[in-house]
């Protein structure tokens, strides 16, 4: 049976994502994204489930950076999870008692309207995760009176749901990925995504334009681009890309090869089925059959037959 590390403690959105990806897996909650990925790297877990981006907050930068550096890992699956926040308190706490509220900064941002409207005088303190906040609040003698987090966290820690769906938007989604040590890739399904990281050879003007051209010329659409600092000073970046298609697709393979030749380093982060099952028609001239036909044509040319 597989054992999946995830961003714990119990009761996180990440646990909810894991239950969708692998309902029967053994679960191993970890203190943070780094610890979850290290568990997958070190073999204590079969794989890890971690958040990658949120439709309001953006990239989970710690995940991006952990995947870009250190021992390589492969994304093998993704899931999109709606984010619904609840206001969680110890039994007996009412709205007027809430002086200090503990939750993750993302929840603070996404519940701004509720907080300003319903709890304008409450001091809000940042927690490492919403589940950690719920755990902390659940402890007798906690300095905090309430947490914001997923309903599942309230259940786990015996808290009362004083208000539900308190996010400013009700369509917020977080994308979680399952990450495993290198091994056989998921088979192409026709609706796949490929993730990678590219480091520039030298950071000249126009370098990003050149990298995007490698994809565009092969008709490979990008669905996400993130710049991240290399750590070598302001103005020095590397890039995360998500592209439509599977590395087994000719157009994706050629684009990655082109990027590899152009770049100081390209780290492949995996090809896996898209959670939204979208399978856009390849641009004319870029389907696998068209690549195969062109390769055959080239072989003929090179042999002098026309």
């Amino acid at each position: 049976m597989q054992k999946l590390a995830y961003l714990g403690p119990e009761g996180t959105f990440c646990e909810a994502a894991l239950r969708i990806l692998a309902p029967d897996a053994e679960r191993m909650p970890c203190a943070n994204v780094t610890a979850a990925l290290e568990a997958a790297r070190g073999g204590e877990a079969t794989a890890a489930v971690v958040p990658l981006e949120n439709s309001v907050e953006g990239a989970i930068t710690v995940t991006l950076d952990e995947l870009a550096w250190g021992q390589p890992l492969l994304i093998t699956a993704e899931v999109l999870l709606p984010v619904e926040f609840s206001l969680l308190v110890r039994p007996g706490t009412g709205m007027p008692h809430i002086k200090r509220l503990f939750t993750h900064p993302a929840a603070i941002t996404q519940c701004r309207g509720f907080l300003a409207r319903e709890l304008p005088d409450t001091v809000v303190i940042a927690a490492p995760s919403t589940a950690a906040a719920a755990l902390e609040v659940s402890m007798p003698g906690s300095p905090y009176d309430a947490a914001i987090g997923p309903a599942i966290a309230g259940e786990h820690y015996g808290l009362v749901e004083l208000a539900s769906r308190i996010g400013d938007r009700d369509d917020t989604v977080t994308r979680f990925v399952k990450v495993a040590p290198p091994g056989a890739l998921p088979e192409p399904t026709g609706a796949d995504r490929t993730s990678l990281v590219a480091f520039l050879e030298d950071d000249h003007p126009g370098a990003l334009l050149e990298m995007l051209s490698e994809f565009a010329v092969r008709g490979v659409n990008l669905t996400r681009i993130e710049s991240r600092p290399t750590g070598d000073g302001i103005g020095r970046y590397f890039f995360h890309f998500d592209a439509e298609g599977h590395v087994a697709d000719a157009r994706v393979g050629e684009a990655l090869s082109g990027l590899h030749r152009l770049s100081a380093d390209v780290r492949f982060l995996g090809s896996y089925p898209r959670a939204d099952h979208l399978a856009p028609e390849p641009k004319k001239g870029t389907a696998n059959a068209e690549f195969a036909e062109a390769a055959e044509w080239l072989t003929w040319l090179r042999s002098g037959r026309l």
Copy 2:
């Protein structure tokens, strides 16, 4: 005398940045970036000083999002501040006593090596800012035994510097910007930067490539690109750009106009002197004099004179 709101409390790196930008200004510490910018928007402060990006942590996304939405503000100056972390404790606390450490997540990340080596068993809790952490630790009865933060925070709150320069890297830099309500722009100096935000008309493949081409064709180099979610779902982004040059420069003005015609919306975030004083030679054909000469030539053509 100007009054500058900043990311408080007293003792933050942000205060150190403010002192460099405006040594004589009155200082108004705010609870978070949002509050500091609101103070500038509402007139309680002349302007605000906030962090924009860090050479290790990357963009300060709350700043990016606050500048992109809501009432417009203009960046009028920037400063690059080396980030040096100290381990701060109440007098009498020694290394073995540190069970719970409170600091900002960025400091946790950047002091990973030190923490793993020197405080492997310490529980680390996330604080809203390093100065807030120092303040909290300074309070009698604090549940935390130590903070990580700038030396200046220790001075402010009467803490002892148990270790200094404990960051994994000693070249980490944070870029802070001064942000003010719309008004006359800083004069071009020849070594300027222009910041802006662009929203796509429709999120088609190749849209980013088109936007980059608007800059490239006019010889305008980009020094920073960040994608941020629009909030309308995974896969929907807008972009922050920093470009070399001043909007008063012909090449920058034409590129911005082109981007404006192409995009659903472009928000100008200001043109201001670069902190690094770099003044790259414009690419051939893109200096102001060359634009002026071409405009004159075009006027002649249109009048039928050759």
Copy 3:
């Protein structure tokens, strides 16, 4: 009354084109394209009518080169003339008598099928123009037995039309232009064309790609591109472009200015109504109103208002 020089002698396709462009003009036949253009340059004629390209033969390179070098001239009108060839002989000549046929090389090429089928043993000699051929054949004692040329040439020189529409294709078209000394441009009609010549600053790889980008970024479509040797050796070229739109259009003006800044030299050859009256919708963001709005927006930015 205007006096138009044209590629003579009387009876050329060029005369037919001239009659369409200016039915009432006085006509001045010239020995070749160079002479016709010189007449316009020198003032002996008001303007000149010369062929620019043919849908089968391609560019009339002498016209391209004459317009690119020497004293500048402006194209002010164009016309598309179907090319229909007739076999012209002196009265009394029958098919079997045709031993030597005289005509312009373009006519030889375009009547290949007819010649091979009907006159397989006839010696075909190149003439400077189809009308010159007809004139020569019309002279008693001519060494030639037949000419191929326009029906109008037969009428002019008293020849008999032994066969008509003998071209291999019946949809061949020649594009003629009216060329005048610099002066007020034709007013924009919404269905205009702009012609120009661009010389590279230095002939580096990618230079043509850069030039095309100047048009593409402003949404200016090109309808014709010709490379011509500069005369400085194999591999050194300059370029003729025809673009959709009028130089008075903002997108065309900006593209030309960009090309001017990029190039060693750009020679404007005129903006004039298209003979086919096609008026493609400008690409989104490139209409005159959109340029005007963007310019106003830029003025606001530069003044610090947002």
Copy 4:
């Protein structure tokens, strides 16, 4: 022994080119380029030598069109021949006697200065080739008094060289190519050229830009671009390209495959040693070794190894 068809009659520049390419070959003069190429196609000759372009006159369009249509042929060699014109007359003819001069239109253009200066009143008549002109002039009773052509033509036909090097420029060069039926390609030498013809799928704006991008992204430099009409009406073109490198080179092969997928049709015209022996260093990331390394890397990725 090989037998080479060429643009005759004896005494042409083309014969001079042939003698350089294959001093010992049997020579087969043909009436025109078409006949020479048909001889190679039909097997009457081993191969053909024809002019492709001239550094002053530009492309030899009949050659371009013959290579683009009909039964495929391959260029296997090229030579650059300086073009030096002589004024050729029958013995006894002096300058004052020259009333009618016969020569190829290219010679007329390239000797403009001499003709205007020395023979201002002479009638100049176009001939199918300079050698044909010399032959014609050599015949007793010729209506022409002089020819312009290569010195070799004078020798062949017993004419006197009244003036030599009479071209306006003394650095004019014609590029001739040897063309053979499909067969094994010349081995790569490191200083090669590849010729091809591309037909657009549909003639949309930006199609040429897309084609050029296929080359640019693989670092393949183009040394010649010619547009030619498809014959389907003004504004419909196909393109001739000369590229640096050999189709056996990975970067050239991949660019051709890309062009093939993008285009309605691509006709390969051969890879052969450059006459100028220039061997530009491939752009970083585009050497054969770099392609091979990237292909190996891709194989690893696809197998899930990192």
